[in-house]
């Protein structure tokens, strides 16, 4: 039993699957977890993944149970991989649309949609926009059911730059500028 003065233990969590590294083998991303642990905590890697330890661990299981576990792990890994691929594909396909909407002759609002596909929180991003451009910026629901950010004023060009600079994982090609008005375009 610990002394009353003992401080909280600091547990290391895997950077890939967020479990304690001991449990990485159940997470489905075993390969990646191993690489991560080897790089970041070599001593721990030695303790968990060294051949002797693995052997001792599997020795206590019956052959049949081992087989079943292996099959299960394989299935899980395949599933995780498929999910990842799907995610990557989705990222590549999703487009951020920056739309300039004429509100009143020379007044505009700019709406930004599609950010959620990149795992951004609309509310926070909206706040950032508002701070950056010193304008009103809010999250509104679109009639089609989704959500978008509406920024007051014409800031379409600046938003594109800002997004590219702040969130590096958004490719430039995935941003689309759209004009939504009858008159001819002037800025963009």
């Amino acid at each position: 039993m610990a002394e009353p003065v003992s401080v909280a233990r600091n547990v290391i969590y895997c950077g890939v699957c967020t479990l304690p590294p001991e449990y990485c083998e159940y997470g489905g991303t075993v390969k990646k977890c191993q690489e991560w642990l080897e790089k970041n905590h070599p001593s721990m890697y030695e303790r968990i993944w060294s051949p002797e330890v693995l052997e001792a661990a599997t020795a206590s299981l019956s052959l049949e149970a081992q087989e079943r576990a292996a099959k299960d792990a394989k299935k899980k890994a395949a599933k995780a991989e498929a999910a990842e691929q799907k995610h990557a594909q989705q990222l590549a396909n999703s487009v951020i649309t920056i739309k300039r909407i004429e509100r009143n002759k020379r007044k505009y609002v700019t709406s930004v949609s599609g950010l959620e596909a990149f795992g951004l929180e609309l509310k926070k991003v909206a706040k950032d926009f508002g701070k950056k451009f010193a304008t009103g910026s809010s999250v509104t629901k679109t009639p089609s059911g989704g959500e978008e950010i509406v920024v007051q004023g014409d800031v379409s060009g600046e938003i594109e730059e800002f997004l590219l600079e702040k969130y590096k994982d958004i490719p430039e090609d995935n941003i689309e500028l759209v004009e939504d008005k009858k008159k001819k375009a002037s800025a963009g």
Partner: protein, 205 residues
């Protein structure tokens, strides 16, 4: 209970009177936490509450999840991150190696995983070591990881795993440990919070 990803809901600051009562009920449920309570719930920081589906409340301090509670159901159950920080403060049972992967995919914990060779159920006995502090019950795991007191039905318990250092789940017992030993089959913990579930992955920042 938290198998699926949970929707994040806004955090709410709690009144200090509610904080105080939570602190008391936490201490009465987990008396072993007494020496560490100031570390778990620093008086200066304010506790926040996140409402989760199924009328579950999660309590968070400084972006650290502490414990959750089902509305009206009484017991506070620690979040696994808290268990990892203070493993000695919670009663434990241990499951064998074969059961780990089922528990980590959200299955109900069944008795055979505990009664087999790799599992550990409590073994009531007198402890030789002195109590940690006054007013704290003298209980704890022995060298083998057997808790020194039989646990009752409905009590919260931490589930350790054979060959692992960290806990892998927490939940409420649906059968007392004595009963489990006698029967040797049937569910022991239903609806646990386990590593990698929705609650674990919930972003509390």
């Amino acid at each position: 209970m938290f198998k699926k990803d949970l929707g994040a809901s806004p955090k709410q600051k709690l009144k200090s009177s509610i904080q105080r009562s939570l602190r008391n009920s936490l201490l009465s449920t987990y008396p072993l936490l007494t020496p560490h309570i100031d570390e778990v719930l620093p008086k200066k920081l304010s506790l926040e509450q996140i409402k989760l589906p199924d009328r579950v409340n999660l309590y968070v301090i400084e972006g650290q999840p502490l414990f959750y509670q089902q509305d009206g159901a009484g017991y506070l159950v620690p979040h696994l991150r808290l268990v990892h920080r203070f493993p000695q403060a919670f009663p434990t049972i241990r499951i064998d190696r074969g059961a780990i992967r089922f528990v980590l995919s959200g299955a109900t914990l069944m008795a055979p995983g505990l009664t087999s060779k790799g599992g550990r159920l409590p073994e009531p006995k007198e402890r030789e070591s002195e109590p940690v502090a006054e007013g704290v019950p003298n209980e704890g795991p022995d060298e083998e990881g057997r808790w020194s007191r039989e646990l009752e039905k409905g009590e919260p318990v931490v589930v350790m795993a054979e060959g692992k250092e960290e806990a892998c789940a927490v939940g409420l017992l649906v059968a007392g440990t004595k009963e489990v030993k006698e029967k040797g089959k049937g569910p022991v913990i239903e609806e646990a919070h386990f590593l990698g579930d929705g609650l674990w992955r919930l972003n509390v920042e």
